[in-house]
Symmetry: C2
């Protein structure tokens, strides 16, 4: 069985849990307390030398890290990674946007606000991250204004990746009501059959929700 | 013909130029002076709402942005993106590592050192980026210690992406002699037929270097 080394509050981990549930793929959740340094132990670094969760471990011991690479791998040959080459390119574009322009600002702000002391030096950097996070949210809001999902008008791993930290951006102080197209899209993603919230530790899909969409 | 909106000194742009030359795909280079705000004009934002180079524009006007998404798109069905599913997953892993753990530290340090005044506040942040950049280089060096290339023992877009800013990391003060496996790998990549340096504006491959490898 797949083992997911993960920290339940992490949006990066949540992306993978979200997709595994949609696919109806059972997995074992192996908790890694990143606040206590458990992603920096020698044992963990043997799984991911970069010392980050999530890590997907296969039954033969192979490990894959980087949340969006895990999404790509799991979604290949499923409806969550479209078959069309141009749509695939756009999915990848949004996955890299998420890791470069969104996550380092929206997710890091959320982490700092929840888990660290906001010193004056950190306040300055937090303000910059909030500004850059709003820039990323603005790009998303304009893109979604006339669309239902990010690519090809159906849910893909681009939506799953961007949903993960956007839907909890308010925890960092981002006022999502400034982004009506994002708010409508968040509701659409949340309505997906098989949806579970970020803190859910469910590892097996509910009866009847495990079918891959046609 | 493909148009590449790009800034010649950018490693992110260089990745795309590198691959286009390897593939023997002619392209028009459209210079964008990011230091003069040319990636923030309304005209440019219509091509990439995130305001960053490189942007690949197709003859029908479609635009693709995010350097690693462009690499993925151009390399599909070529030897630079392996056919094996597990190798593909690992290529993606290293592409996301590049954009999350490497580029924001190695490339941003290089940009600051070359183009900005190092104020005391920036000095503190630069020191942190140098530390994190060394961490990323350490991960790469250990991975390359017993390998010729990042994935599957042959050049892929993972190597092209990581080469772009690693081979100029000394311009930010990173001492690459601390990483012997990286230095050997840099030589291997540089030896690729059709190789051109980062500042080359060549847009058409040399005669005899345009063939795709078998």
């Amino acid at each position: 069985m797949l083992r997911l080394h993960d920290y339940l509050d992490s949006g990066n981990g949540y992306k993978v849990r979200f997709l595994l549930r949609l696919l109806g793929t059972p997995f074992e959740l192996v908790p890694v307390d990143i606040l206590r340094g458990e992603s920096r132990t020698e044992e963990f670094l043997n799984k991911n030398p970069n010392g980050r969760i999530p890590v997907l471990e296969f039954s033969d011991g192979r490990c894959l890290w980087e949340s969006n690479a895990i999404l790509f791998h799991l979604a290949s040959d499923t409806p969550y990674f479209p078959p069309d080459a141009w749509e695939r390119a756009q999915v990848m574009q949004w996955l890299f946007f998420e890791q470069y322009s969104h996550e380092p600002n929206v997710a890091t702000s959320r982490f700092w606000v929840r888990h660290t002391e906001i010193t004056p030096e950190r306040r300055t950097r937090l303000d910059e991250k909030i500004r850059l996070g709003h820039a990323a949210l603005g790009v998303m809001d304009r893109h979604l204004d006339a669309r239902t999902f990010f690519v090809g008008e159906r849910l893909s791993i681009a939506d799953i990746a961007l949903y993960a930290y956007t839907h909890v951006a308010d925890e960092a102080g981002f006022e999502l009501e400034r982004y009506p197209a994002i708010e409508r899209w968040l509701c659409r993603v949340r309505d997906t059959p098989g949806y579970a919230p970020i803190t859910s530790a469910d590892t097996a899909p509910e009866q009847g929700s495990s079918a891959r969409p046609a």
